[in-house]
């Protein structure tokens, strides 16, 4: 009797345990790692976006992990994939586009809804972004933090030098002239500096609808050589060299070092990514008036109009994720594309709002009239060409190295060396790297 009862209690307990276990497995949260490179003020914004997503549904969790610079993030993802330790989502800068396409490690973005039996309208994203990350008309990575380059300038400096702050320079020739006046008037020691100097060189080419490399700017096939030095780069770099010689241009390091000089009023013009906008506005505060404008062109009318380049990064998904993980990833991506989230992301970082709906919402609430600096880059890229390979942006395997070689050439030029010889040497190195990369596909 007693034995029987204890047996039945035991059975009941067993059933209960199994049932609870069943519930537990049904509700065990699926967590997907998300590797990124968002540092500084952007880190907090990203963490907030992810935390808000995680609060929606406890069974779907994203774990953001800061893994270092863009370059390190790409390298680590490759190493991790080989060791089967890769995250579900990885943020890769635009430079890594070709490498990721060639990697065989990812699910192209357009295939994600297909695999889950869902549909998604990729037409809702801003055209130049879709263009940049598409291959054969299909989007390969999820649009996330896109930016472009523009000029930031200190309006107070222009006034102090007797220049009209409503007429910032539109050509490189004017930039030189303005810079000289500013330096001669003693307002600043140097007038201009760039962040990402190699990217500014790329932007100069695309802005004049000129390709960076052959094979349709690397968009039709793997490029075999770069297009520079050419007549255009000779003309451009002559001005840059002249600016360096006359203290108009001061070389400010590879990434964001030049921001400090602008924020402390040491220079008047800063060419930098739009993603620095909120950081700069916050740091400068009321100490001077920050304004922004389009990138300068060469005055020579023979060069066509192109567009500034999409920069920043997009999100890739590992092709080893399970369907359950992919479901979470897709939900997260849909969340990122939500209008309120896009708006929040844009307002707090300066990156583009990625969807048309977000742009409309921002316009309707008067954001662009309230903060016209947030509109500048947007107008610049939306008013430019998007239908040529040159304006859509280049693609190449050893892109990071190519940038490094362009930077080397610019450093030499800033230091007074001959621009043509410096760029030619770098071009030879890049062409050798292109050949080496293409060897992998023989």
């Amino acid at each position: 009797m007693f034995q029987k009862r204890s047996k039945s209690i035991l059975m009941a307990a067993l059933v209960l345990v199994l049932a609870l276990g069943g519930i537990a497995t049904a509700q065990a949260p699926v967590t997907v790692e998300f590797w990124h490179s968002m540092t500084g003020s952007r880190l907090e914004v990203l963490n907030k976006v992810v935390a808000d997503f995680n609060a929606l549904d406890p069974t779907m969790q994203i774990e953001p992990i800061l893994v270092g610079t863009y370059e390190e993030c790409l390298t680590r993802f490759r190493a991790a994939y080989q060791a089967r330790q890769e995250p579900g989502i990885v943020q890769i800068y635009e430079v890594g586009t070709q490498t990721m396409h060639d990697s065989g490690m990812i699910i192209p973005a357009y295939q994600i809804p297909e695999r889950l039996g869902e549909t998604w309208d990729f037409g809702q994203y801003i055209r130049p972004i879709v263009q940049y990350y598409s291959k054969d008309g299909n989007l390969w990575s999820w649009p996330f933090a896109s930016s472009t380059a523009m000029i930031y300038y200190n309006a107070d400096h222009l006034r102090a030098a007797g220049l009209d702050p409503n007429k910032p320079p539109t050509t490189w020739e004017e930039m030189y002239e303005y810079g000289k006046k500013l330096v001669e008037a003693g307002v600043v020691k140097h007038a201009l500096s760039y962040g990402w100097p190699d990217w500014m060189f790329e932007n100069a080419l695309s802005l004049h609808d000129l390709e960076y490399a052959n094979m349709g700017n690397g968009r039709l096939g793997r490029p075999t050589e770069v297009s520079w030095p050419n007549e255009f780069t000779d003309e451009l770099l002559d001005i840059w060299a002249k600016m360096a010689k006359d203290n108009v241009w001061i070389y400010g390091g590879a990434e964001y070092n030049a921001n400090a000089a602008f924020q402390s009023g040491e220079i008047t013009f800063l060419m930098q990514s739009t993603s620095s906008l909120d950081g700069i506005l916050k740091t400068v505060g009321d100490s001077f008036e920050v304004r922004t404008t389009f990138l300068p062109r060469l005055a020579n009318p023979k060069y066509a109009r192109g567009n500034s380049l999409i920069g920043g990064n997009s999100l890739y998904v590992s092709n080893r994720v399970s369907d359950a993980e992919l479901k979470v990833i897709f939900e997260f991506f849909k969340y990122l594309s939500r209008t309120d989230v896009s708006v929040y992301w844009h307002k707090n970082t300066g990156y583009f709002p990625a969807t048309n709906a977000a742009v409309k919402a921002l316009m309707d609430e008067g954001w662009f009239t309230q903060s016209p600096n947030h509109l500048t880059a947007f107008l610049q890229i939306l008013s430019g060409k998007t239908d040529t390979d040159a304006s859509a942006g280049m693609r190449m395997g050893p892109f990071a190295q190519s940038r490094e070689w362009v930077r080397t050439a610019l450093e030499k030029i800033a230091n007074g060396e001959d621009p043509k010889a410096a760029l030619k040497y770098s071009a030879e190195q890049v062409n050798a790297l292109l050949a080496e990369y293409n060897e992998f596909f023989e």
């Binding site: 994939y81 060639d102 020691k189 450093e411 992998f440």
Partner: protein, 293 residues
């Protein structure tokens, strides 16, 4: 023959952990590096055997030879200038002056600072746009120093910062070494009519040689390997690769430029190089050092 009677397994079991650690963290990775150095690695991890091509191209590469040359100059400066200054300061602080202990501590404490922090500090002080030193030099000489573009300025900046960060450590050991030099030997020299200068060269300096030999080795290791953190913070190897020393070049080629095979070949060569340098240093220092009292 049984070397450990009655203990057949125990001695080996006891050294196993050390051997395992050495094997896992040193020998196996080294073997992999050697293997990798004969391959090219595609950006997606596929290996292709290229024989000796990585080595051949390494020695033919203008960039590698430039890096090699700069590393040698950098090491010579860090060791030569660094140890000379350290010895001078150590000699001063061991004199019979008021507050000698204070000076000793004041000079030594900089070693407590991490190279990264020191790097950030130096790069801000010499920042061409906002740095105080860049500005002082600019207004005093009219020469605007920009280590972002000027290879020589960048090289000197990194060298000066390295000498500075190692100074505390070097002084610390020299002070200890100087305190161990027996006073009676110096007195004997003085009685024999030697000048202070002669006493130093004939008595003090030879007595210091074990310390000097040790410091030369430590500073070599710093110049070849530990300078990495400083470089990464201050110049990232630039401008124009003037501060891309061998160890930093391996990192850049392997991790930034995705040339693992080429980086592996460089690291194997660096290993051979350091092994030779280390052997020479140990041989000469044990031969020349005056350990006897």
């Amino acid at each position: 023959m049984n070397r450990f009677p009655n203990h057949r397994i125990l001695p080996y079991a006891l050294v196993m952990p050390s051997i395992a650690v050495i094997a896992i963290f040193l020998i196996i990775p080294f073997g992999q590096a050697v293997y990798l150095s004969f391959h090219r690695v595609s950006p997606f991890g596929a290996l292709r055997n290229v024989g000796w091509r990585n080595y051949v191209e390494m020695f033919a590469s203008a960039e590698y030879l430039f890096s090699f040359r700069n590393t040698m100059i950098f090491s010579a400066l860090v060791i030569g200038v660094g140890l000379t200054i350290a010895l001078c300061i150590a000699l001063l602080t061991t004199q019979k002056i008021r507050g000698a202990a204070f000076y000793q501590i004041a000079f030594i404490w900089t070693y407590a600072m991490s190279p990264i922090i020191a790097g950030v500090m130096w790069s801000l002080i010499f920042d061409p746009a906002i740095g105080i030193m860049a500005r002082l030099i600019g207004s005093a000489t009219g020469y605007s120093i920009n280590y972002f573009t000027d290879p020589v300025a960048a090289f000197l900046l990194v060298t000066a910062a390295s000498v500075w960060i190692m100074l505390g450590y070097n002084i610390c050991f020299f002070v200890a070494g100087l305190q161990n030099v027996p006073h009676e030997l110096k007195e004997a020299a003085w009685i024999d009519g030697a000048t202070t200068w002669q006493t130093f060269w004939v008595v003090t300096f030879p007595m210091l040689s074990p310390t000097t030999a040790f410091l030369v080795f430590v500073n070599t290791v710093y110049a070849f390997f530990q300078s990495f953190g400083m470089i990464d913070v201050v110049t990232q190897g630039g401008p124009n690769r003037s501060t891309e020393f061998l160890i930093y070049k391996i990192y850049r080629d392997g991790f930034g430029r995705m040339q693992e095979g080429q980086a592996a070949a460089q690291s194997v060569f660096l290993f051979v190089l350091i092994a030779i340098v280390g052997a020479v240093q140990i041989y000469t220092s044990t031969k020349k050092s005056v350990y006897d009292r």
